[in-house]
Symmetry: C2
Subunit: 297 residues, 2 copies
């Protein structure tokens, strides 16, 4: 069994990104710039935003925090989005969720210019990803694909079972892995990028265990602690655990996979924490650099 060490891979990618940004500066270009919009003072959101800004600093991406009060109107927030859409010094930006209840998240997200949508959550970017057009892919699916690629785990012709159908993980990762290998990533062989046979399972699926036992790769993003047990896994399968569940004591994080029982049967498995999580922030940095390059050219 090999551990898919997201923390290590993310640090390698950050080093690569730093090198690329340093080269841009050495060539006389400006640094890429990310803006992060945060509305209100939700402590969890502030932690996430600060981590993202810190990650930018580490690789040389400029980051601007746009802090707005919780009583901002939807119209004023929309105007802020338009300002960022038009600001030529901003390559990409994100609006940290959740937003206050009086603001419609869909309205705000849909207003982001897809070319600056480094979270990859606008309908335009999702549609472009589905259609195989150049797009900014949302962070977690992109991180999963990168993790598979860095460990040279092929997906072509293999059966991938995705458990969960969320807009931010299940649906986009299914689309990414089943499609023709349109997009190439640095350090990734085309064969590992797609062409999988993909089954999408969810709360209404009957006999999930039997379906999982036919899978070469299982991606669990259901938000249900220890949902995937050893009897559901074919020996030699690859297991990607997207779950982050805080257990009773409030401090420990557990995934959607019963790690101790499943790991001995798996060929590859992600730990929680330290698997998919670190890949997610690094995807945001990669998308910011991609938006910068599209923008510059």
């Amino acid at each position: 069994m090999t551990l898919l060490d997201g923390k290590h891979i993310a640090s390698l990618i950050r080093a690569e990104l730093k090198q690329q940004v340093d080269q841009l500066l050495a060539d006389g270009h400006r640094a890429p710039k990310l803006a992060v919009v945060i509305v209100g003072h939700n402590p969890a959101s502030e932690t996430y935003v600060n981590n993202k800004i810190k990650a930018c600093a580490e690789v040389g991406i400029q980051a601007e925090k746009v802090a707005l009060e919780a009583d901002i109107t939807e119209a004023d927030l929309l105007q802020e989005v338009q300002r960022l859409n038009q600001d030529p010094s901003v390559d990409g930006f994100i609006v940290q969720l959740p937003l206050p209840e009086h603001i419609n998240e869909t309205t705000i997200l849909s207003a982001i210019d897809y070319r600056k949508d480094v979270d990859g959550l606008t309908p335009e970017n999702v549609g472009r990803t589905v259609q195989g057009l150049p797009s900014l892919v949302s962070a977690t699916p992109k991180g999963i694909r990168e993790l598979l690629a860095r460990y040279n785990i092929p997906t072509a012709g293999r059966h991938v079972v995705v458990i969960g159908r969320s807009n931010i993980v299940g649906k986009p990762v299914a689309m990414l892995l089943m499609q023709k290998p349109y997009l190439s990533l640095p350090g990734m062989s085309a064969a590992s990028l797609g062409d999988a046979t993909v089954t999408i399972c969810h709360s209404k699926t009957q006999d999930l265990a039997a379906i999982c036992r036919t899978a070469d790769i299982i991606i669990v993003a259901a938000g249900s602690p220890k949902l995937l047990t050893a009897d559901m896994v074919k020996p030699g399968a690859t297991i990607i655990d997207v779950g982050i569940n805080r257990v009773m004591d409030g401090y420990r994080l557990v995934g959607d996979v019963d790690f101790d029982a499943v790991a001995p049967k798996a060929a590859y498995i992600t730990p929680v924490p330290g698997g998919v999580g670190p890949m997610t922030i690094v995807s945001l940095l990669q998308n910011t650099l991609q938006a910068y390059q599209n923008h510059k050219s």
Copy 2:
């Protein structure tokens, strides 16, 4: 075995649409209006366009043919798209494909305002469909869903195998049938609208036959005559054949299903022609009425 009679269902839906349009006129509203852009004189395209215009007339939808010469520049065609986007008398429009080689189809399709994109092919509409937001769903997937619903064939919790991953059929029909039943259609029970476990298969899939044998519903959109044979079908399955293949004599159409051998094992099956095909044009009429209603309100 019950034949899924798309020709009959399409005629029922046309009668319903005519009644709705008549009611709109009786209430003093204007008729819905579709514009159909055709570039050049491809005979197959002209036939398709004329059939669409005829279908509009039958239900009282106004149709305008915008015929452009094959040597139009991409910039001029884009300008025509912008004109139709802005024309308040046009509720929806389509650009008949294929376009001449000097014009980038993706550029043109992406420029269509998604609210008028009654073919449901813009990235914005595809992304909205994936995310479960109100959208105009592309014609063939919408027709398949409607056909299943009209025959009260439930999809919730059932295993649907989709063969083919095209942008116009395979990917969107997979997304529609697996997602939560967000959208309600007239005459359709919510339970029949989604919630399926969906597997997407394609040319790179290994052991397609074994996967198909686990399916309750098989949707074949591979463009490969008689791809689905009797040994690949579980007794009692529902078979949807999207294939339209012209065979050697040049006149006969055959589907992707070996109909004569598969039909005796199936609970429900679509004929070719007369199955999915007639549902596709009727979807365009439904989308035009939906665009009119969104536009009016």
